[in-house]
Every structure is written in structure tokens, then in C-alpha cells.
């Protein structure tokens, strides 16, 4: 059977069976098949061609290094997505940290969890559950998704616009502004 007729998982199997001298042709085939998909997704979420090219290389570097940890419990492409997502998100979050992005574009001191007295920790937990309720009750679904993608997954606003296909005037920025306004009105006003 010609190599280009083999399923992804079979290519992985052969590459792994070849061991240290990895079956180069199998790896080449996997790369050729999936690079456009990985590149398209990276380009969409980061927007910058240079950075996307860098990401794609990092993704495949990790994929081939860790091929042995693919468990054949899903399709290869699903695992490839998980690696791609992890590489992209880690980079996004690192970048966000580096720039010291905060909610007000001002530094917010991080609470030192272990030194926080119990009653204060309780207060923090209470604020957390109040905030979760406020998110569920006052935000519309798009606002909540945009907040999640930006603040948890570290995606940039233009990346979110492209991912969600937002075509309103200021795109995800408008959703972030309205979501923060709603949360502040409800949450900061309600606390204490």
C-alpha cells in the first residue's frame, strides 16, 4: 500500500515502530497532510503570519517529539488539535503575563494563597461564586464566550473576532466593554 493511502494512525504506528530511526517518510506524510489545517487555525487565532509560522513549527516539533504519548484513543487529528491548542494558548497566556495585562490595564496584586487567613479566603470564595452567578445571569452568551477566550485562553481580540466571525463595528472589544460594565455594576456594587 502506498504511503499516501495509509490512515494517519497507521502512519503513527509505523513511525513509532521504526523507533529512534523514525520512519521519516511517515512523519513527512503526517506533516504534509496536516500542516494547512494547523497553519489555518494558527493564522486565524493569532493573525500575524510570522507568528503563525512560528507556532506551526513549534506545534509539529512537539507532535513529533511526543508521538509516543499518542494513545490511539482518538483520531490522530484530534490529538493534534489538543497539542496545537496547548501550544497556542500557553504562548498567548505567557504573552499576556509578559505584558502584565490586567482588567484595568493596571497591575492587580495576586493574593498569596497560603498566607491568606481563613476568613479572608472564605470571602474570596464567596466573591468567586457571586462572580460566577453574575456571569451566568447578566452576560449574554457571546459576551461570556469572548471573556473566556480572552481572559482564560489568552486569545487576542482580533483572533476572537476571526474565530467567532464577529462583524459588529468594534468586534470582541465591544463585548468585553459591555461585559465588564455589567459585571462591575452588579458585582462591585453588590459586594459589601
Amino acid at each position: 500500500m502506498a504511503i499516501d493511502e495509509l490512515e494517519d494512525e497507521e502512519l503513527v504506528r509505523r513511525a513509532l515502530a521504526a523507533g529512534r530511526g523514525a520512519d521519516e517518510a511517515c512523519l513527512d506524510q503526517l506533516f504534509a497532510r496536516h500542516r494547512a489545517r494547523v497553519a489555518g487555525w494558527c493564522l486565524r487565532i493569532c493573525g500575524d503570519r510570522e507568528e503563525a509560522a512560528d507556532l506551526v513549527q513549534e506545534v509539529f516539533l512537539r507532535v513529533f517529539e511526543r508521538l509516543a504519548s499518542f494513545r490511539f484513543e482518538s483520531r490522530f487529528s484530534t490529538w493534534l488539535y489538543l497539542v496545537t491548542r496547548s501550544v497556542a494558548i500557553n504562548r498567548g497566556i505567557a504573552e499576556r503575563r509578559r505584558r502584565g495585562l490586567s482588567l484595568d490595564d493596571e497591575q492587580v496584586p495576586e493574593p498569596a494563597a497560603d498566607e491568606t487567613p481563613v476568613d479572608e479566603r472564605l470571602a474570596v470564595e464567596q466573591r468567586g461564586s457571586q462572580l460566577r452567578t453574575a456571569i451566568a445571569e447578566t452576560l449574554d452568551p457571546t459576551e461570556a464566550r469572548v471573556l473566556y477566550l480572552h481572559y482564560v485562553d489568552g486569545l487576542t481580540l482580533p483572533g476572537i473576532d476571526r474565530l467567532l466571525g464577529l462583524t459588529n463595528k468594534s468586534g470582541s472589544k465591544a463585548y468585553i466593554v459591555s461585559a465588564k460594565r455589567k459585571l462591575r455594576r452588579r458585582f462591585e456594587g453588590a459586594d459589601r
Binding site: 513527512d28 513549534e58 516539533l61 513529533f64 491548542r85 505567557a94 464566550r145 474565530l163 467567532l164
Partner: protein, 249 residues
């Protein structure tokens, strides 16, 4: 007593609070399940249940969107073509000498960003090898590294409890290494993918709520710390320790 001074008035919303509140909760499917859903790998009934959940859960809905963006065919564009054209042939092919890549980034002709990820990847590779060693039951550690070139000191011992814990740790600490400029501490998830990392000056790391939130229950993570000298070269490294969160029932 020394109370931390609090600013008067209403407490402001912090980015970490928002991050923690937005995150997936205990009832949320794992990211791998959401990816499988987007890939069309789930049976109809599991897919229905997952979509019903996502309809009321921003975290899962957003992750589904993110994954769907990967599995739907990318629109052809000149920009994508250009990107593909500039990719070298198969990056990341494990060269025969890849196993003994020094942990320190080597001075060379590559642009800085490349060097940064190449160095990160070699660290990951070493960690992955450490994990394999653990699984095999042989001595944990990072085999095949040129010790005199990279690790100049001994081993770093953890001073906070690791292993199975009832809750995500707020802080990780380890024995200080003489001459260390800073420490790089990293948590790796399944398949040795990094979950959280930091460089800290003291021999401890207070995890931000966001980092703690990334640690799921019933998942075995691996943790490692390395001491770096001012040039960024490694002075010492800890073993790859396991970390698992099992809340009391």
C-alpha cells in the same frame, strides 16, 4: 497585628478572579471530549448531552468554537498560502542527536524567538524522557544529558508535599540552590504538555488562581523546577515529581 492595608470602598474586580470564575467547573467535560465532539468522534447521545451542557456554559461553548475552527476546512487565502510557502519541510523532525540537546539555548544564527522555543522544546523533551523513565520504574531523572555541560550542581528537593493532594496547591517550594539567580518551575499535564510555568527569584512559587484553576482533579501532572544562573544556564534540577488532586468525597 500587621494587617494588609485594604483600599477603602468597593473591592475591584481582578483579572484572576474573572479568570477563575469563567473557567470550566466540575461538571464540565474534559477539553479532550470537547475536541472529540468538534472532530465528529462522539456518538450521537454523548454529543447531544455535551451540546446541551455547552448551551448553558460559556467555557465549554467557547472551547467548542475554538475546536470547531480547527476541524472545519480552512478558507483558502493568499495569506495562508504565503504562510505555507515559508514553512520549512517538516519542522521538528527528531534529529539523531535530539536526545542529548543541551537544556541551555545555544548561541547561534537563529532568531531569538526560535531559540526560545527550541530551548523550551528541549526542556520538554527532557521532561518527557523523565516521565518515560518514571513509567518504566527505573530511576527517575533526566537521562542522557551532558551533566558537566548543563547541570552543574546537584538535585533540588521539594519542600512542599507533592503526590496526591486534596486540593490544588497554593504554593510550591523547594530547597534553595546556592548561586541561583532564579528558578524556572513548570507543571506538565497529560502527554507532557505544559499547563503552567513561572520564573521566580525565591525558592517558592505562589500559584495564581488562574494556574490553580488549570489543574483538574483526577489527572496526574508532573512538576519540575530548575535553578538557573544569571546567564540562564542550569545549576540544578529537581526530579520530575507527580501531582494529583483527589478531593475528599
Amino acid at each position: 497585628m500587621n494587617e494588609i492595608p485594604r483600599s477603602p470602598g468597593k473591592p475591584r474586580l481582578s483579572i484572576d478572579e474573572l479568570d477563575a470564575a469563567l473557567r470550566a467547573g466540575d461538571g464540565c467535560p474534559a477539553t479532550a471530549r470537547l475536541a472529540a465532539a468538534a472532530a465528529g468522534e462522539l456518538a450521537a447521545d454523548e454529543l447531544r448531552a455535551l451540546e446541551a451542557h455547552a448551551a448553558g456554559c460559556a467555557a465549554c461553548a467557547a472551547e467548542l468554537e475554538l475546536a470547531r475552527g480547527f476541524f472545519e476546512p480552512a478558507a483558502a487565502s493568499a495569506e495562508l498560502d504565503e504562510l505555507l510557502a515559508r514553512l520549512p519541510a517538516r519542522p521538528g523532525a527528531p534529529a539523531p542527536s535530539a536526545r542529548i540537546l543541551p537544556m541551555r539555548s545555544r548561541p547561534g544564527a537563529r532568531p531569538a524567538r526560535r531559540v526560545a522555543w527550541a530551548a523550551a522544546a528541549s526542556v520538554l523533551l527532557a521532561v518527557a524522557l523523565g516521565v518515560v523513565a518514571l513509567r518504566d520504574g527505573s530511576a527517575p531523572g533526566l537521562p542522557d544529558r551532558p551533566l558537566d555541560d548543563v547541570v552543574r550542581g546537584g538535585r533540588i528537593d521539594w519542600t512542599t508535599a507533592l503526590g496526591t493532594l486534596p486540593a490544588a496547591p497554593g504554593r510550591l517550594a523547594w530547597g534553595a540552590v546556592a548561586g541561583a539567580d532564579r528558578y524556572r518551575v513548570e507543571i506538565f499535564g497529560v502527554d507532557a504538555l505544559p499547563i503552567a510555568a513561572a520564573e521566580v527569584e525565591r525558592a517558592e512559587w505562589t500559584l495564581a488562581p488562574g494556574d490553580r484553576g488549570r489543574l483538574e482533579t483526577h489527572v496526574t501532572y508532573r512538576v519540575r523546577v530548575v535553578a538557573l544562573d544569571p546567564s540562564g544556564a542550569e545549576l540544578a534540577a529537581s526530579d520530575v515529581a507527580e501531582l494529583r488532586i483527589e478531593p475528599p468525597r
